[in-house]
């Protein structure tokens, strides 16, 4: 067992536990986006940063990937952490404003401004879908491509994947919604999940007013004749 201190409280956890899990065990809320139970920690969205260490050596790390260490001192909501989180949410809002999940997080953190050039991207490259596909569906149909600002998710060379079973798992886990569903051109879709999962959507013209994919699919319900 490893004993560490989170916000002044000692907690003993098993070896291999992450700081995020330890904090959640104690009930300290830490917002997450790329993290998902059942998938390996990835540490991409940086929303779960916490402050560890003390004095000039103190630093921020992503709690979802940082292993609990004996004697580690963790602060989950210090000023430095909150400032970083707010900026991350502002950046998320600037890129992906239509995501319900991001909107909720932003509202919870009282984000009142967005000072960057507005984009309407439908992917934050959190990699949930990639890990879902690989780890839970054992398909490895999609992955990351490119680097830097050109990084994207898709099948190799954008060719429909032979190993994809069109299970829709990638869409199910997507926090940005409407992400990879190109149902208006089903032949180009990576997984075709939308066609499998919610046939009523096929009659819709666009997804503009849709907040979320999965059951209950609000937009589809409303659209029902």
């Amino acid at each position: 067992m490893i004993t560490l201190t989170i916000n002044g409280l000692d907690v003993s956890v098993e070896k291999g536990t992450t700081v995020l899990e330890a904090a959640q065990f104690l009930g300290f809320p830490i917002p997450t986006l790329c993290h998902m139970e059942g998938l390996t920690p990835y540490g991409a969205c940086r929303l779960c940063v916490v402050e560890i260490g003390e004095g000039p050596g103190a630093k921020l790390v992503s709690s979802c990937t940082y292993p609990a260490e004996p004697g580690l001192k963790v602060r989950t909501a210090s000023l430095r952490v909150m400032r970083a989180r707010k900026m991350i949410l502002e950046l998320l809002l600037a890129s992906c404003p239509q995501s319900k999940e991001i909107q909720d997080l932003a509202s919870k953190h009282e984000i009142t401004q967005q000072r960057f050039r507005q984009e309407y991207s439908d992917c934050i490259l959190c990699g949930r879908c990639v890990r879902m596909c690989e780890e839970q569906m054992m398909a490895k149909a999609i992955g990351f491509r490119g680097r830097g600002e050109k990084r994207s998710i898709g099948t190799p060379f954008d060719v429909p994947s032979e190993v994809c079973r069109q299970c829709g798992g990638c869409i199910y886990v997507c926090p940005a919604c409407s992400l990879r569903c190109t149902y208006t051109q089903p032949e180009k879709a990576i997984c075709g999940g939308c066609a499998n999962l919610s046939p009523p959507c096929l009659q819709k013209d666009s997804f503009d007013d849709m907040m979320c994919y999965m059951d209950p699919c609000v937009a589809c319900e409303i659209k029902k004749p």
């Binding site: 991409a44 990937t65 260490e69 900026m87 959190c126």
Partner: protein, 1084 residues
């Protein structure tokens, strides 16, 4: 090649090779690293081979092809041993001469590098400043070995360190040695290598495997020392890597090198094969029982793969993407096995430490930062290349001594260290010793050792933008804050450089940069903010100028600069426009364009300091800038000022009364501007003539009096009254003016009080301050100088005084004394030349005080025959019976560099000497006579300058404005005109109760003028037009104007040379008539 099976075999081989190598063999050494080959080393090698064979010198002259020696700028070069003669930039045609001379042990002087400051040629490589001040350890091998011959390396003592390490029975010995040496990782972070190795040694192998990796993924723009080492001395890296393996018990070695380094890969492959064949790698190294081999893994060139966790993933064949540490690679690296990763340079240091002893290494450098470090010194600097210096050396020594200072006549502004992840260190911090910790403290990093020197023509916002552009592409993209953060920072920086920035942008940029630094996973992201944060820290003013004033002072940001000539002009003249009009022959229109912006066209055409020309794209691009001032002179000489009729604004009875104090360029420009706005202006002038400095200080041979009078007359109208002979502070005061009913006052009394030397005897008869001397002559025709005349100072007023004195009838000689050297004289170079020609003597390194003047003046003065004595300071004034007889001076030498990179004059004891003078003119600078102003409640600084808000020129007293030399200290005419022009607008706004200034906007060209049909080839052959001048004999003892106008052909040819930078801004706005109509029809 015989495989060596025991240590004795190796020793025998080493001794044999050593005996064979005769250090006195004449050897032609040709560096052929990537830099050498790129500049033509291959041809030199061919020529050298041919020359050796053709002259039957084989056996007497050897040829060695090596890696880069570091002085990349001088490639292709040849080094001749054993004399160590260094021939830079060798022409293939000269190779044969060099070879033949080498065979006879001779030196070809004409091909040697010139000495510093034009001194005698430098005979050997080690005497060249660039090499002399370096401490070469690791790099020294590059010139001694042919990288493709293991024998060369062994003969130089190579692999003996490995043998030493292998033969020790106590396994911890090597690590102990490395620890004692204090070696820190040369990749940039500076982690102690010994500690790393100990951790690696203690890590348990996984699946029987433990890795040691050489990180040669060098991706920083401008850094190439790792490449140079791997290319030039690959066996040193292999030896270092093998010693590391022995020390930590590694079984596998990997050299991770980017595929962009083909030569490095090739040489490493050859070296590996040789080492394996010789039994220095493999199953049983030298019979010691140690098993170790090395593979080369080629990376595809992603910057992030230099980060160790990304590098490991790349070696494993996966996407190069960092992961969370811990676990550290030492515990869990390649395929889960412990992996120890070291930089190329770190490994190259290992054999040195083992061979020469840890203490020897620890003795180099400073506590905590031992040994040497290689830097790649590039950018706006005279000597570029690889330099190896002991850690702890002050930055300025590297920049100014080894690097030789700025490449041109600019000032070095900053050094960017550590590549894209590093930061910029300003010149004011150049005393900083180079060490891991000091650089980090200054907001930069050591990084792999890139050192990019930047001068005044580098825009720091643009630099940050450049690096952010690199980083946004090279971030792996995994961390959201790194991917989006760098992209957003780039967006903001781009907005600022495009002129769309707001003050909020700067705050947001800083906030974002701090968050990116804080929240990213790997080193790339954590340091990605450094370019932004360090430039914000040290150059925030530049950001502010971009955002608030829409100015890029380095003239880099195109959308803020527009046409550089226009942006440079303090009075917003559009030089490109009148130059284009001259080309078209529209002289009247050209005059109107000049006059619209500048109320003193004829004066400016003679005495303007030509900021436009110094920024002309033609000149900046390496050519000769367009002779804009001469073109202006051509127009103003030819066109009647009456073609321009300024309109006077109707005030509908709202005209106000304004007092302008001082009828110099600033005061008259203000009075003129205000009068056109309809206000009633009264100008008060202390002297009997208007013109200020134009009349009393500038000599008539540069600016004829009638030109000044005529120009001043054109500015007068019924709204302006001038009262001469009224001394402000005596006859009138601010209170008095206010009582007289003036609504606003503009003070522009200039700077007429000369600084004093503060030597005893300065009030003797025969000693005059330069202003008094010039005024006496220019205004009243009194000739104060006689006999032998000494002038102290090196500025424009000193040169003016010298040349005026020369023209006075009782003067026999004129000597100018300056405390530094001629190169540092602030006077115009051409003026000094002229003065010398006319007979003035100049003594440099003499005078004790600082003054500002311009180079070209120096030139002219010298040409006129002024004698120049530099490096001299006066220390005592000698007198007899109350009259000056001479001065005692002391010689100076140039001492240490000050923060600006100029050397300080240091008096040399025992060099005192006396000069006999009948007249001494002290011209070491002027200051405003502002004591009466201070008494009236105006805030002034310690140099007597009135303090104003730089944007509005408002003083501390309500309704009182000030400008010109009174505010800036002695300055140019054009800046004074600019101040007057600006204040007219400000005062008008003030009187109408409006905000005093409008938000700034970039001054961009707006009017489209058809470009001339210019043949490019013709253009390349034309040179800058030079106006004719009066020959020396015709001007020496009179005041006739020296410079004459250009002829019409000259002027139009000169105008055709203009690159028309304006077209980039105006051309696209013009509808392309024919085409657009056709397209319209098609769609109609």
């Amino acid at each position: 090649m015989k495989t060596l099976t025991c240590f004795d075999d190796f020793k025998a081989l080493h001794d044999r090779l050593r005996a064979q190598a005769d250090p006195n063999t004449t050897t032609i050494v040709i560096p052929a690293g990537t830099c050498g080959i790129a500049s033509g080393a291959a041809e030199l090698i061919r020529e050298a081979q041919r020359a050796i064979l053709a002259n039957d010198l084989a056996g007497r002259v050897a040829l060695r092809v090596t890696g880069c020696h570091g002085f990349c700028q001088m490639e292709p070069s040849i080094l001749v041993e054993p004399r160590r003669t260094f021939y830079p930039k060798v022409n293939p045609d000269d190779v044969e001469r060099i070879v033949r001379a080498a065979a006879l042990d001779e030196v070809i002087e004409s091909l040697l590098p010139p000495g510093p400051m034009g001194g005698p040629c430098v005979a050997t490589q080690d005497q060249i400043d660039f090499f002399a001040r370096q401490a070469r350890g690791v790099l020294s091998g590059n010139e001694k070995v042919d990288p493709t011959r293991i024998e060369d390396y062994i003969a130089q003592g190579g692999y003996s360190a490995l043998v030493q390490a292998l033969s020790r029975s106590d396994a911890g010995w090597v690590i102990e040695q490395i620890k004692i040496s204090g070696l820190r990782g040369r990749g940039g972070a500076g982690f102690p290598t010994g500690k790393k190795w100990e951790l690696a040694r203690n890590a348990r192998a996984v699946g029987g495997k433990k890795f040691v990796v050489c990180n040669a993924d060098e991706g920083d723009p401008g850094a190439y020392m790792d490449r140079s080492l791997l290319e030039g001395n690959p066996h040193a890296i292999l030896e270092g890597l093998t010693i590391a393996a022995v020390a930590i018990g590694a079984t596998h070695g990997v050299i991770y090198v980017r595929s962009e380094y083909p030569l490095a890969i090739k040489h490493a492959q050859i070296a590996l094969r040789q080492a394996r064949d010789m039994g220095l790698l493999g199953e049983d190294i030298l019979g010691s029982g140690t098993r170790f081999d090395i593979d080369i893994v080629q990376g595809a060139g992603a910057f992030v793969c230099g980060e160790e966790t990304a590098l490991i993933r790349s070696i494993e064949g996966r996407m190069g993407e960092p992961r969370q540490r811990p676990p550290y690679p030492i515990a869990k690296g390649i395929f889960g096995a412990p992996t120890c990763i070291n930089n190329v340079e770190t490994l190259a240091n290992i054999p040195f430490i083992i061979r020469h002893g840890a203490d020897a290494f620890a003795g180099i450098g400073v506590e905590g930062n031992t040994g040497t470090k290689i830097f790649s010194l590039v950018g706006k600097i005279r000597n570029t290349g690889l330099v190896e210096v002991p850690l702890g050396m002050p930055l300025k020594e590297v920049v100014h001594e080894i690097g030789g200072g700025p490449a041109g006549k600019t000032r070095i502004k900053a050094v960017q260290t550590g590549g894209p992840s590093g930061g910029c260190i300003p010149a004011s911090l150049f005393d900083l010793p180079i060490s891991y910790d000091s650089l980090t403290k200054a907001g930069s990093i050591m990084g792999s050792g890139g050192m990019i020197v930047m001068d005044e023509n580098t825009c720091m916002v643009d630099v940050a933008r450049y690096f952010m552009n690199f980083l946004k592409d090279e971030s792996c993209g995994k961390c959201f804050t790194c991917r989006k953060g760098t992209q957003r920072m780039y967006e903001i920086l781009e907005d600022i450089t495009l002129g769309k920035g707001t003050p909020e942008h700067i705050d947001l940029l800083e906030e974002l940069a701090l968050v990116v630094k804080d929240t990213t996973m790997c080193g790339l992201g954590q340091s990605a903010s450094n370019p932004v944060l360090s430039t914000l820290k040290y150059f925030r003013e530049e950001y502010r100028r971009h955002v608030e004033e829409k100015r890029c002072d380095a003239y880099v940001c195109k959308n803020l600069v527009g046409a550089p000539c226009q942006a440079a002009c303090p009075v917003d003249t559009e030089p490109w426009r009148y130059v284009a009009l001259i080309e078209k022959g529209q002289y009247d229109e050209a005059y109107r364009i000049i006059r619209q912006a500048n109320p003193f066209p004829a004066v400016s055409a003679r005495v303007c300091d030509r900021k436009c020309e110094s920024r002309c794209s033609l000149g900046v691009g390496g050519g000769e800038s367009v002779a804009i001032r001469a073109l202006k002179r051509f127009i103003t000489d030819r066109v009647d000022p009456a073609v321009y009729r300024p309109e006077v604004r109707s005030t509908n009875g709202q005209a106000r009364k304004i007092a302008v104090v001082g009828a110099g360029p600033a005061g008259l420009a203000a009075a003129h501007g205000l009068s056109l706005l309809g206000h009633k202006v009264t100008v008060l002038e202390a002297e009997q003539e208007s013109g200020g400095m134009l009349a009393c200080s500038l000599p008539a041979y540069r600016l004829p009096r009638e030109i000044v009078r005529a120009e001043v007359a054109t500015l007068m109208n019924e709204n302006i009254t001038v009262r001469h002979g009224v001394v402000f502070g005596q006859e009138v005061t601010l209170e008095g003016l206010s009582a007289e009913g003036f609504d606003a006052v503009f003070l522009a009394i200039g700077a007429h009080e000369s600084w004093r030397l503060d030597l005893k005897g300065e009030d003797l008869a025969g000693v005059y301050p330069s202003m008094q001397f010039l005024k006496a002559f220019n205004l009243r025709g009194e000739e104060l100088a006689s006999g032998h005349v000494g002038i102290i100072g090196g500025g424009n007023s000193a040169v003016d005084a010298a040349r005026v004195a020369l023209r006075q009838k009782d003067v026999t000689s004129v000597t100018l004394l300056y405390r530094r050297t001629r190169g540092e004289m602030p006077a115009y170079e051409e003026e000094v030349e002229a003065a010398l020609e006319e007979g003035v003597t100049i003594e440099t390194l003499v005078s004790p005080v600082k003054i500002r003047v311009r180079q070209e003046e120096i030139e002219t003065a010298l040409r006129e025959g002024v004698e120049l004595e530099t490096l001299v300071s006066p220390i005592r004034i000698c007198s007899r019976e109350g009259r000056l007889v001479g001065i005692e001076c002391i010689r100076n030498r140039l001492g240490d560099l000050d923060a600006s990179g100029r050397r300080r004059p240091v008096p040399v004891p025992g060099t005192e000497f006396t000069l006999q003078f009948d007249t001494l003119i002290v011209a070491i600078g002027e200051r405003p006579q502002s004591a009466p102003l201070a008494a009236m409640g105006l805030a002034t600084d310690k140099s007597g300058r009135v303090k104003v808000d730089p944007k509005t020129l408002a003083t501390s007293v309500e309704g009182v404005f000030a400008g010109g030399d009174l505010v800036t200290g002695p300055n140019t005419v054009i800046d004074a005109i600019a101040a007057g022009k600006k204040v007219a607008d400000v005062i008008d706004r003030y009187l109408r109760g409006e905000p005093l200034v409008e938000p700034a906007e970039a001054k961009l060209p707006t009017v489209f003028l058809e470009p001339a049909d210019v043949d490019e080839e013709d253009l390349e052959n034309t040179t800058r037009a030079v106006p004719p001048v009066l020959p020396v004999e015709k001007r020496k003892k009179n005041f006739r104007e020296i410079e004459k106008p250009l002829s019409a052909e000259q002027a139009r040819a000169e105008a055709r040379r203009c690159l028309r930078c304006d077209l980039a801004f105006t051309q696209e706005r013009q509808p392309v008539c024919g085409q657009s109509a056709a397209v319209g029809e098609e769609y109609a």
